[in-house]
Amino acid sequence: MIGLVAGFTYYWLKRPAAPADTATGSPSTPVAGGRLTVTYRSEPKTFNRLVSPQLAEELVSRLTQATLLRMNRATGELGPGLAREWTSSPDGLTWTLKLQDGVTYSDGTPFTSADVVFTFQALFDPKVKSAMASSLMIEGKPLQVRALDASTVVVVLPAPYGPGLSMLDSVPILPRHKLAAALEAGTFAEAWGTTTPPADVVGLGPFVIQEYVPGQRLVFARNTKFWRKDEAGRTLPYLDAIELQFVADQNAEVVRLQAGQTDMMSKEVRFEDLAALQDLQKKGKVLLYEAGTTIAPDMLWLNLDPSAAVAKTRPWLQREELRHAISAAVDRRAVVNTIFLGEATELAGPITAGHKGWFLPDLKPPSGGAEKAKELLASIGLKDRNGDGLVDDAQGKTAKFALLTQKGHTVRERSAALVKEQMRKVGLEIDVVPLEPRFMIEAWSKGEYDAIYYAIESDSLDPARNPEFWLSSGSFHFWNPGQKTPSTTWEGKIDELTRKHSASMNADERRRLFAEAQRVFAEHEPVIYFAAPKVILATSARVHGATPSVFAPHLLWNAERLFIK
């Protein structure tokens, strides 16, 4: 009897660890099933990614389409997508990509190289006027894409290109069998509008559109024919469905997340909500992720176009000393503390710590404060001549300019108000004018503005992927876009350095060249930067498998890996 009890006890103590509860599994084992609810603030105007670069269209594309190569948005590394391996010619210009086998579209039609060729054909078609075309050109020439056979594609770069094939991460490979007719008929740009029946929006992505109720929700269901599998060979995606709920503003999003009604928000957490969410994290209701420092910091630039009206009426506006004065006078610590509640770092240029290897930690913003600023203003003739506390130009008129910013964007409106207040101490009067983005952009494109406070999203860490900003001929060279020849020597210098680092295949050389470009930029400061906030993301506690990224869509870029427990 005792032996039996002893034996039993021994067995009881030594029994193998109980397998984890089958209902939940261990935290790292994915479970299939579940519906993820995400609140989102803008609606797509079309399902045709080639035609519109807006964030909503990009999200739909990421979920329903696939690309040849796929960039890991957390590490920045390029990995296989629809192409399983790729090799280049010795000169680095001709790449041969072998496509995955046995892949079919969500409607069962087999995927072949013809779809790849078709996609690029549509992309570069002049009648389509794709917004994406310019970002796939090197030195103004398009990529050449041709099929070698049904499962091999050859991509020829028109010139040596530092970033290599990373641009292929942004091109969704569209179904030829669904869209060829529209391309033939010249109606491709209107194809796949939001009234298209969901079953017609066919793709190679992890999800398909199930339902779109304008103004309310956009629901994606698992693509049962999705070709990717996880390391254990399980089919992806894990989730059954993703529901995007459209809400008007971020307050509504936060309220729902806090109440446990939704799983995810469309954008990063606002710092005024952070304390409350940290409390919820302690209670185990919410998970917070720090993705890094933003790569899209807010910027202030002035109209430096020599042919603009301000060049004649207020020439002091275009002087470099003015920009240095603003940069010296604004207390960046105040921006970090007041606007971002301490969760940001002071910034001297467009490249932040979020840009990883490209960042120059030793590049510091100008110092000197209000005293230096007053000196600089005086050096271009702006002094307080009538004792009213405000500086005046040579004619005795109060020197002032209008700073346009995005209406409704709390951070930018507040930052602009802060800049205005700081410059008032130095005597420079600024009018802050919040405008709907469309009108601000109109004023900018017409060159009818003094200064703008804004930011744009970026889809790559590599500066060579952003030639429109760095090159003086670029369309997003904000302070003076589309120049035929560089209007200043330093812009010419940056042009030269940009061309060199874009064409170089040597990583160290590229970094060195770009560092020099950053220093020239900082010396002349055509755009003033103040602070770079952290990117913090939040999900409900039941969401797992998320890899946060500083790029939008921050958590949905690899939605096929998300699972709910």
Partner: protein
């Protein structure tokens, strides 16, 4: 219905139709005249002037204003309200969805205001005592609290005590914010009408005849106050709409006001015209109903119309 009533209704209907068409067309014209237009946001994504010009012609923005207005009126007959440039969808769909929400909110608020205001007014006008004084005091406070402020106050209460739902899309908060001030106005009117009736000879005589006081009060004062209260309905309906714009914005109720604001800010010509159409339609229907009720009750009104 008697002949004169039907004539009255028909004339009013015609007037309402003209009202609706004129208001919405003027909205369209106003927005066309406004500086800036709907193609401005294209400049960021498609910087090609030919594409922008193509979009302008697709949206009808290169046609003269009167031509666009004329074809829009023509479209009305087919219930074709054009396509929204901001949302890329037919305006009729957008507007129907939102106008329904605003109609629900406004309609329920009106009903609630009446159901609260009239009984409270009878009570406070027909007797003294603590109850009547409490009602009167509450009314005075609520009349001073326009829907916008009451919405903020209720939101504050909801947030601090957790009693009401703050969820965007929940009806209760905006409903209370609109109904309570209107109810207070009705209460004040009803109270005075009741107080007046209580002193009329007819009333005193009825009371003297031994008819229970309560019954006399309710019957007489209700009948007496019907005209003034119904008469004020027109103003109340207009006030409800005005109030709903701010209330919808504060409580995130997806109504017509917000949609119109979006259209105005994005210079979406058809959307604004469509919203003006729907809004004036609701106002006209509300006024028409109130007027018909009054005419039904009091034949003199039909003649004077």
């Amino acid at each position: 219905m008697t002949n004169s009533l039907s004539v009255f209704v028909l004339r009013r209907l015609l007037g309402a139709l003209i009202f609706v068409v004129v208001v919405s067309t003027s909205a369209l014209v106003l927005i066309r005249l406004a500086p800036g237009d709907a193609t401005t946001d294209m400049k960021m994504s498609v910087a090609d002037p030919a594409a922008i010009a193509a979009a302008r012609s697709r949206l009808g923005l290169d046609r003269p204003i009167w031509a666009q207005a004329a074809s829009w009126i023509g479209g009305l007959a087919r219930f074709d309200l054009g396509t929204s440039s901001h949302y890329g969808r037919p305006v009729s769909g957008l507007v129907v969805e939102r106008v329904g929400n605003t109609a629900i909110l406004g309609g329920l608020a009106l009903v609630m205001a009446t159901l609260i205001g009239i009984p409270c007014g009878v009570v406070s006008g027909s007797r003294g005592g603590a109850g009547a004084r409490v009602i009167a005091a509450a009314s005075i406070l609520l009349v001073a609290a326009p829907p916008m402020l009451l919405a903020l106050a209720l939101l504050y209460l909801a947030v601090t005590t957790g009693v009401l739902s703050v969820e965007p899309g929940s009806l209760l908060l905006p409903l209370l914010a609109l109904a309570l001030p209107m109810g207070a106005v009705i209460e004040r009117l009803q109270s005075r009408a009741t107080a007046d009736t209580v002193h009329t000879p007819a009333f005193v005589a009825a009371a003297a005849r031994g008819i229970p006081r309560a019954r006399v009060v309710w019957l007489h004062s209700l009948r007496a106050s019907l005209q003034p209260v119904l008469g004020v309905y027109g103003i109340i309906i207009a006030a409800l709409f005005s109030g709903s714009v701010a209330v919808e914005a504060i409580t995130s109720w997806p109504g017509l006001g917000r949609l119109m604001l979006d259209g105005l800010l994005s210079r979406d010509v058809f959307l604004v015209a469509g919203c003006a159409l729907a809004g004036s339609f609701l106002v006209a229907i509300g006024n028409l109903t109130a007027d018909v009720l009054r005419a039904f009750i009091d034949p003199r009104i039909r003649e004077a119309a």
